[in-house]
Amino acid sequence: MTNHWIDYRNSDVFMNIGGNTAENHPISMKWIEKARETRGAKLIVVDPRITRTAAVADLYVPIRPGTNIAYLGGLINYVLENELYHKEYVLSYTNAAYLVSEEYDFDEETGLFSGIQDDPDRNAKKYDRSSWSYQTDSAGNPLKDPSLENPQCVFQLMKKFYAKYTLDTVSKITGCPKDILEESYRLYASTGKPGKAGNILYAMGITQFTHGSQNVRACAIVQLLLGNMGIPGGGVNAQRGQSNVQGSTDMAILYHIIPGYLSAPKAASHPTLADYIEKETPAPPCWWSNKPKYLISMLKAFWGEHATADNDFCYDYLPKLDHRDHSHIGLYKYMGEGEIKGLICWADNPAVTGPSAAAKRSYQSKLDWLVSVDIFENETASFWKKEAGANPKEIQTEVFLLPATASFEREGTKANSGRWIQWQWKAQDAPGECKADLQIAYELFKKLQELYAADPNATFPDPITKLKWDYEGEDGRVDIAKVCKEINGYTVADGQYVTNFVGLKDDGSTACGNWLFSGYYNNDENPACQSRIKETEGIGSNLGWSFAWPLNRRIVYNRCSADLQGNPWNPELQVFWWDEEGKLVKNLDIPDWPGAWSFEEAARFPYIMLPEGQARFFSNGMVDGPFPAHFEPAESPVPNLLYPKATFNPVSQRWYEGHLAETEEERSKYPYIMSTYRITEHYQSGIMTRNMPWLNETMPELFIEISEELAIELNIKNGETVLVESKRLLKNGEQKSIKAKACVTKRLKPMTVNGKQVHVVGMPFHWGYCGMRKGAITNDLSPSVGDANTTIPESKAFLCNIRKVG
């Protein structure tokens, strides 16, 4: 989130798109309701289904799964055509005026941008992005046209790009009636008025697509046009589904980054530390110009005294990536091919949550060994059992299942969606021999260090034996305070905490595990992450409660809450006060600019993480296009109306041959659009909640939601068990299926898409073959095809068939 949960109370209009706040983040609804009660705020819900959030909305906008860019592109076009954008904001804080290279081009037949190339390794296409660039002067500075009239300026290119996204066309693509579309556009565009705050809330309902990242980009473009970024009540707010999914991402449990969102080193572009620094470090004042300080401080935290300037601070010890994708879909493919022989799984249950899960479970039998750490027996660890449909005798994989502690049986911090890093105190001693993951990780790596130290023939033991692993506390237990200190950072010479990341150096004199967290635990007595001081008046920042990264800032890009002269767009939600000399005299949030800068300087560079310091409508940061363009999902019942020769996102990797229903004949075999989702009473793979009787009582079993109209067509009654099929369960000509109870509902309606009627159905995915309540695994149906930028699987729109039993 750019903003935070309590800040919802400051919004005037909410657009809940691809998220279901009332169902999946229930308590945060109180802050939406607060804004409705106190400010008369309006709630728009854009969703294929009348969700629990839609049920209380001021305006419900039904759209077909996978058409978010068409919907948002229509909004962008509406705002531009009707001149409803925040002109001063757009001119001051974005790249609207920048001139784009004459080489840049877009083909409206194919939906392809300039620079397209074949990428046979990935069975897809890729872009040479060099034409997606600014025109520059001889010194390399971007050329601009503040009148916004030059046809090559970003503003004009954007206007031209989205001119095709008319109400008529968008209505045909999305299946949403034109009057509802227009009403939603008019209502949301009302926040383009200075002083009004529009808030876009989303979740997996826009990310789990082959074009998911571009969906989010489209949200960002809307928010920039309307001047909704960096202001109280505004923002692009990803409502995250797990208690520490923000923190686990910050800590880089992802192959492509290392802690604090630094790129993981690649063999091709970063063979040495000097290469890494040269390629990854932009010029100041962009904040990433500090990157070498963060990388070298991290290397010092990792390899301590062994990391010196002479050996590039042990940069060589960090593994270097090859050119392949090592995300979930990729690594399970390599597992199926026999390349991966060992899997270590910490509180993760991919046998239920991963796409094409049935196939993935079978790949696990190729492993020599599998380690699973959990509080309950889970499906991933039990894939060899009869209940999983396997024959144990045929599976040679050794499995180690380690008992972990529950959340309230361990201490540490978790980062919520608003980036608040809160301390979780330990309340109870865990039962039996359970251990916290921190302790397990600590002991396991100590064992490994001993094994390597004892073996003179070990392969390159240095990164392991020399890793700094000195967290020992009392009785052989790990001392979490030592881990916290290392993450926060300290000066090497005297071991003193650094106050925050501003104190980090690139000469090896400081160590810091994750620069972004620096400041969260910078003293022993009263670390900020344990602070519990509630705000009594203000704008809801609660600066005394926990610690928000970065630097305890609650709204990022917050210089944009005021105009160039420092006057707030909304005087009732003023964040900063300057005196006549331009000195900051009062602030209700932590400024998002260096302390030495005047407010004028800060206004010239408000998007401090970008080299140009101004937000991008047009961006070369995405692999699949500088503007978000509408593409159909990989499996879709209809062709692309905007770009008639387009396939699904051309940059998205095709992992498996024959995996998708793409031909006319296949589409007719699987005629319904399936969207998977979560429900309040269960959590993710369900392995916790299916072992909680109170929740099982409220939501006992798997179901499939189908409209009354489809139920009549298929002669299916509410409560009847049905079979659900997809191409993933078609093996050697034999169609398999999973079973679910039919929930015949008014929440779904047939949609008319370009004159053709299509049915959308939906299923939660919280069941499996372990736990107190069992059920089929919905993800056995979903495809292993992912977003071009992130490889997140397309779980929100794929094709299926439904049959009566017998």
Binding site: V245, G354, D437, T689
Partner: protein, 206 residues
């Protein structure tokens, strides 16, 4: 009626009491007083963060010492001092107690029988789990990691005709986790990279 109240009956009764006090005309203050009376006064309050979604609600655990001098929770409820949830919780958050304890048919709490309490091992071809001790498990896992890593380790790779130090193994995959704390994830990342693992992902992408 039995002296032992089921949870549901208990909730009904307290709900009725609160409603009665409002009807009596003494209003909001009485509701607060009624709530205060049913608080657990003999237990220690420990604040924790809800383990489910990303809202980050505060939960208070009521903790007592059991007969083995171990800290055990007897109740969990929304933390009224927490600025985000202000005491309220959703159906999952308010059921957190169930992770540890469930009720028997008499309405008495008992440990959740499905919690794992001992390390379990499944041998190749076996159809069952066997209990093992921690030392054996961690020692054996470390040996497996070492063998797999050492047999599948690339010190260098040739990229565009250049020899590059890569120090990686493609043969091990590491997943998780968004359930674990930041400090745990920090250690996961640190040890995984030190081993040369590059197949790293977790449920953030699912």
């Amino acid at each position: 009626m039995s002296m032992k109240l089921s949870r549901r009956t208990f909730l009904k009764l307290t709900g009725t009491a609160a409603a009665a006090s409002i009807l009596a005309g003494s209003g909001f203050q009485s509701r607060l007083e009624a709530a205060e009376k049913i608080r657990v006064h003999y237990a220690r309050e420990v604040p924790t963060i809800c383990t489910f979604c990303g809202v980050g609600c505060g939960i208070l655990c009521h903790v007592v010492k059991n007969e083995h001098n171990r800290d055990v929770i007897i109740n969990t409820e929304g933390d009224p001092d927490h600025p985000i949830n202000e005491g309220s919780l959703c159906s999952k958050g308010s059921s957190l107690y169930n992770v540890s304890y469930i009720y028997d048919s008499q309405g008495r709490p008992k440990p959740n029988p499905n919690r794992l309490t001992k390390p379990l091992y499944r041998a190749p071809g076996s159809d069952r789990w066997e209990e093992k001790d921690w030392d054996w498990m961690l020692e054996t896992i470390a040996q497996r990691i070492k063998k797999t890593r050492d047999e599948n380790f690339e010190l260098t790779d040739t990229v565009d005709g250049r020899k590059v130090t890569v120090n990686r193994t493609n043969a091990i995959a590491w997943l998780g986790s968004a359930f674990c704390t930041n400090e745990e994830n920090y250690l996961f990342n640190k040890m995984a990279r030190a081993m040369g693992i590059i197949n790293i992902d977790h449920c953030a992408r699912l």
